[in-house]
Amino acid sequence: MANSPTLSGPSGAKPRPFITPQRFVVYSVLIVCAVFFLFPLYIMIITSLKNIQEIQGGNIFVPTMSPTLDAWEKAWNSACTGLYCEGIKVGLWNSIKITVPSTIVSIAVASVTGYSLANWPFKFSEVFFAVLLLANFIPYIVMLYPLVIITSKMGIYSTLPAVILVHTIFGLPVQTLLFRNYFASLPQELFKAARVDGAGYWGIFFQIFVPMATPIFTVSIILQVTGIWNDFLFGVIFAGPTNYPMTVQLNNIVNSATGGKAYNVDMAATILTGLVPLTIYFVSGKYFVRGIAAGAVKG
């Protein structure tokens, strides 16, 4: 028919070339970045699998012909950290003893503080919040010496409670900010409805707000666990030699000079130390991004 639309010519999805110049640029940059960040990891892994002769004689980039887990075993069980030669496993347990309570205490305090700041404004609460944020920008090196004195006056210097206290204090500004912003982004009417229903300060917090705050708790836990796990300075200053976390033990292994440098053991110990934060990022990356976005909605 003359006036009906014809079906010849283009129809359906528009064909696209497999690779366009824009795509080429994007992929090149991504590949270069990936190689840049993965290459050190590659070297660490292959080095940790070599024996010491192979390291001293061979090329650092070439994979080993006869891989062995000896270095890993040594790093875990018998590497020397100064006076003791019990490997990095002591540090793992210490790190857990520091990280778990520090994370729980700091998040517990920060979530309640953030909730108060967002929903129960008190006189000068805005000023209080501003001061808290400002404290974020003061280099914490400045506060180390006073904190040493404070904790020793309290009689807890060089103990587990001291390092937990310090981690909690330094975690508070960022954590409080996260929780305050998240709770402020929840509808105000929800809070009002709960008050009309007769729920009080703790009732609203535990029964209404905490169940709604899973994303922000996830982010907080990830930030705190990785941050505290990776910490070196507070551990070495406040924990005391018997409680040194893994990072400090690792440093001691790498720096104890007994004969030649055992690069394979150092590398294995390093990977073992980094394994916890690495696993957390792999497992929770999705939730992490989601939670960060959720907390960032409202300022």
Binding site: K192, A194, R195, G198
Partner: protein, 359 residues
């Protein structure tokens, strides 16, 4: 009838700004009061004060004869419904409705009884085990009303409960709310900016502006005898026509340029001679006639017409200014025709321009 809610000399300040100014309001038991006004007039703020969610700066609030000025929201005998529904997302409908009762420590079987009764009234029985996320907007608002209902309180507070719904659902729920009020006979205080909701639901409407109640009256009175120029302009859609002029001959004539209207039929106070007066004419109180009648008509030229189904809204030019008239669709005049507008003076409103009050 006994007074249910009484607000006395209520003032609320945020910093130096007075949001509510020395406000007084008495609500009878079982009355449906609508607080109506433009955004920022303080109507929601007043409701929040009644609920105890905002602390007032001065004055008192009594509910059922009890001074609740300092009482917690849950101690006031009120239930509240919010615009955004404000349902607890992690709880089921049943959980939402029973939350307040659980906190109050009510025995389980009694809670269940109340939830059943409320869900029957609102016809949400099949939804009881669902989460709010799985409900439509209309269902959510019903649950929110149910949450207020189970508390079996004296006073219901509604904060723009229908504003988040689409037009069709809104008119359905509006009728349902009226039915609910007829059945329960509770005192209801309802905030809205929608004048249709106000006119259809209210026993009395309180029109608010700038933290002050401008007029508190039955809908019919508000519509036909607005107390001042603001109320006259705010209520009615399309809006009232205003003509500025003066009253002469001892208040018997309204005069504005070529226009002379006989005021002997005016139903209001003593008109007297006023150099600055405004006459307000609702579009449905004007008829289009062919010939001039001295003292009763205004000459005009038809500009455009807006057909609205049964009626047509005709826009005309009078002395270079626009006026609107509602006419039956079949009788709408052609654009450009010179016509005469016959005014029903008995239904008109006269205002003194200096104080903007109705004469």
């Amino acid at each position: 009838m006994a007074t249910s809610v009484s607000v006395q000399n209520l003032t609320l300040k945020f910093g130096s700004a007075e949001v509510l100014k020395n406000l007084n309001l008495d609500v009878e038991e079982g009355e449906f009061i609508v607080l109506l006004g433009p955004s920022g007039c303080g109507k929601s703020t007043l409701l929040n004060c009644l609920a105890g969610l905002l602390e007032l700066s001065e004055g008192q609030i009594h509910i059922k004869g009890k001074n609740v000025t300092w009482a917690e929201p849950s101690e006031r005998g009120i239930g509240m419904v919010f615009q955004s529904y404000a349902l607890y997302p992690q709880m089921t409908v049943r959980g939402n409705m029973s939350f307040g009762l659980k906190i109050a420590g009510m025995p389980k079987d009694q809670i269940e009884q109340r939830v059943q009764r409320a869900s029957e009234i609102l016809q949400i029985g099949p939804l009881l085990d669902r989460k709010p996320g799985a409900l439509s907007g209309g269902q959510r608002q019903r649950v929110a009303i149910g949450r207020a209902l189970v508390r079996e309180v004296d006073v219901f507070l509604f904060d723009e409960p229908l504003s988040n719904l689409d037009a069709k659902l809104r008119s359905e729920l509006r009728v349902e709310l009226k039915r609910l009020h007829n059945r329960l006979k509770n005192t209801m205080i309802y905030v809205t900016h929608d004048q249709i909701e106000a006119l259809t639901l209210a026993d009395r409407i309180a029109i608010m502006r700038g933290g002050i109640i401008q007029q508190l009256d039955e809908p019919h009175t508000i519509y036909n005898r607005p107390a001042n120029l603001f109320v006259a302009g705010f209520i009615g859609s399309p809006a009232m026509n205003f003509i500025k002029g003066a009253t002469t001959n001892g208040g018997r004539i309204f005069q504005s340029g070529e226009i002379n209207l006989d005021l002997s039929q005016y139903e209001g106070g003593a008109v007297m001679d006023r150099s600055k007066a405004i006459i307000g004419l609702r579009p449905e109180h004007i008829t289009i006639v062919d010939a001039a009648i001295p003292g009763q008509t205004i000459p005009a030229v038809v500009e455009i017409d807006e057909p609205m189904g049964a009626d047509s809204l005709v826009w005309l030019l009078v002395d270079g200014r626009q006026m609107s008239v509602r006419v039956p669709f079949e009788h709408r005049p052609k654009a450009g025709t010179p016509v005469h507008l016959k005014v029903d003076i008995a239904k008109s409103s006269l205002f003194d321009e200096t104080n903007e009050l109705r004469i």
